[in-house]
């Protein structure tokens, strides 16, 4: 029971790495899916259309 309590309070401190992982994912998607620089848009064009991102 004590171990269980310790591991659960420890898990509260594990929130930050998860938030960072989510932010990393959002950044990757922002570049690959949404950024509108012409080169990036040209390269990602077909995949953006096929995965349902608003493209142009």
């Amino acid at each position: 029971m004590t171990n269980h309590t310790i591991s659960r309070s420890y898990s509260r401190n594990r929130l930050l790495p998860l938030i960072m992982a989510i932010m990393l994912g959002v950044s990757v998607l922002a570049v690959a899916g949404h950024a509108q620089s012409p080169t990036l848009h040209g390269a990602a064009h077909d995949t953006r259309h096929a995965t349902g991102f608003p493209c142009h």
């Binding site: 690959a32 096929a50 995965t51």
Partner: protein, 233 residues
Amino acid sequence: MFTRVVISALFAGCLAGLIGGVLQLFFVQPVLLHAELYESGQLTHFGSSSAADTHHTDSTFDLTRDLLSLGFSMAIYVGYGLIMTALMAFRLDNDDTINPSAISPHQGIIWGLAGFIAVQFAPGFGLPPEVPGVASASLEARQIWWLATVVATAFGIWLIAFGRTPVVFGLAILLILAPHVIGAPEPQILQGPVPPEIASHFAARALGVGMAAWVILGLCSSYFLAQSHSDTD
């Protein structure tokens, strides 16, 4: 924990993006290339010159273009994988009901289907996957609506999956419905040059391939997360 999530997401996202990308090149790309002939004016819908040539297949193989598509497909699914794997890890940390050490492969598939509904099916309900050349509203408005719909739907599905009271379920339904009651931005004039047959075929193919890739993403994310769990703990 960060390393666990990132490595699991990298493996799962690369695999799902690679398989999804190959399916995309095989099933979606031919429809897209066909539509581009109408977009560029080489074929015309109801035109006099080539209306008979409706089953034209563009066989030009562009290696660079196809490799870029594969690469971006992998990048996009790694991005989605990072978010989903982090949410899976969060769920494991905060789940005291069942065996909290792993998400089973079957549960992984359901996570994947839920992800597909949140990021492709729900926004596609208002903004169907666009073939090149179709008429559409301003890009910025569509991106905002897309993002809001994805966030609201994902949160709604989370509440349905893990909520415990009727009020929470009611809130979830409101969240999922709201973007569609408000409505997606629509074009002022419908005058895209691409035939509706091609556009609808493209949308159906894009959604089908997306669902397959998301199922693989969910399955692999749960698998690699469980693997890294047994390796490190």
